[in-house]
Amino acid sequence: MPCILDIKDLRKSYEGGFEALKGVTLEINEGEIIALLGPNGAGKTTLISTICGITSATSGEVKVAGHCIKDDFRAARRLIGLVPQEVALEPFEKVINTVRFSRGLFGKSRDEAAIEHILRRLSLWDKRNNPIKELSGGMKRRVLIAKALAHEPRVLFLDEPTAGVDVELRKDMWDIVADLKADGVTIILTTHYIEEAEAIADRVGVIAKGELLLVEEKAKLMARMGKKELEVQLTEPLAAIPAALSKYNLTQTADKTAVIYTYDTKGERTGITQLLNDIASAGLSLRDVSTRQSSLEDIFVTLVQEDAA
């Protein structure tokens, strides 16, 4: 897939010296969904704002489909749609008019069929003549997406699209994102919901303190950094781990009825067969055995902690 967004050594310093972005370099391919994870204040929104033209970069270069966001800003911005984090809408304006306005603002001539398509896709068609102030919080977020899609962008930025929304709406949003991806729209979303990135992203980037710590395909990242845990439940509580099992670095559950063995999935040998043999030799009898893959959240926490250290 060709690169649609090319970010090179992007830096942003505010007055007073605070460095919000410390040389971010990132290439995003057309048609992919990339999730940028990071704690509050990591620089996620600054990165998006700088690419979209809301904030001026201190240095660095950004190209959208080969168009520089500074020298060729018109061509670059025509390709971008932005859904901001805050619900910022004119309360007294009708839904359809605010979407028409967005389309016009991006230089696209009026096209009622296109507007209807967008509003229907976002389940807003029935509310098209309602003033925005009458809509629910979830509907307002949909209006923001409709506005961002009004000029048919090729790249869509979603800045924490599901912050503070209920589970049902979050799942709805994920469906919308999946639909857009099917249409070939490149999506960059920021979130601090790991579950969100895990559910919809193709690649994951982790930002902390203005630096991009890593960018990797979600599946590869989980395979590379993911640990698996084997939980062995025992028929009788175990007072202490026998010396014969000390080499496995086992941990016990709080009620002492199970031991947990952590192993590397990419290792040649996991050591599970040997462990189970040694448990049997130690005279312990098993009730159940289960495994658990560590989540993206565990990986994220590990990365951010490593960076802090």
């Binding site: 505010y14 932005l82 008019n97 016009g104 230089g107």
Partner: protein, 253 residues
């Protein structure tokens, strides 16, 4: 030039005006009628004529100017301040439009609204006094230039303001006194010499004088000077807007 975007801003802003059309119309009509009752009937009956013009008619150009200036400022300042206040400014900043296009959209709409209200006041005044416009072309020119320059000024105030109090501060503390002291309801020649000299530093004097000349052929200052003054004020506002957009002052972080 992204004309579609300019049109989108213009139409959107005008829609706001027409949404509250009745309020937009009734308020200036009532206040103009009150001015005619107070100044025209009560004071006018004692003044009778100014430079050969009936006092009721004499104050019409000043009244139109007073309303047009305050409306142009308030519409333009609110037009750009409101998106800043509610956060929708993000859309303007991320759109493929230059600042010149943003100014054309907002200032164009604010100037149109002000002109619309100016015309309404003129029509209202016809019900109270008999007026002949001696130089209609010059009258339209002064009206248009005043609407545009004061809308530009209002736009600057809207960018500058950080809260609603600041938005009201300049119109209330500076513009209204300047308009009242600028000869809206009297001829500068009626003042003592010292105040006549001081008045010459008030830019509004030139605008009202020029506008009044278009109506009656009367002038406190030569009409060409009036035209130069309004041109200078427009140029000053344009320069300030250009600087704001070059630097992103109070818009772009």
């Amino acid at each position: 030039m992204n004309w579609t975007a300019i049109k989108a801003i213009y139409v959107f802003e005008m829609a706001r005006f027409f949404r509250t059309f009745l309020q937009s119309l009734i308020s200036p009509v009532i206040s103009t009628s009150l001015y005619f009752v107070v100044f025209g009937a009560a004071i006018g009956s004692r003044i009778d004529q100014v430079d050969g013009v009936n006092y009721g008619a004499f104050i019409v150009p000043g009244l139109i100017m007073l309303t047009v200036m305050t409306q142009a400022i308030s519409n333009a300042s609110f037009g750009i301040y409101f998106p800043k206040f509610i956060g929708t400014i993000y859309e303007l900043l991320s759109a493929p439009i230059s600042f010149l296009e943003i100014v054309l959209g907002y200032v164009g709409a604010a100037a149109t609204k002000a002109m619309f209200i100016g015309v309404i006041i003129m029509i209202t005044s016809f019900f109270f006094v008999d007026i002949q416009i001696q130089h209609p072309f010059a009258m339209v020119l002064f009206l248009v230039l005043t609407c545009i320059s004061f809308a530009l000024f209002g736009f600057i105030i809207g960018i500058w303001a950080k809260n609603f109090e600041q938005l009201q501060l300049v119109p209330l503390l500076i513009v209204t006194p300047l308009v009242f002291l600028g000869g809206s309801f009297y001829s500068i020649s009626m003042l003592p010499p010292v105040w006549q000299t001081i008045s010459m530093f008030n830019p509004v004097v030139y605008l009202i004088s020029g506008f009044r000349w278009a109506f009656f052929g009367l002038e406190d200052v030569p009409v060409l000077t009036s035209l130069l003054a309004i041109g200078f004020f427009t140029a000053l506002c344009l320069a300030a807007v250009y600087w704001i957009f070059k630097t992103g002052w109070r818009i772009r972080t």
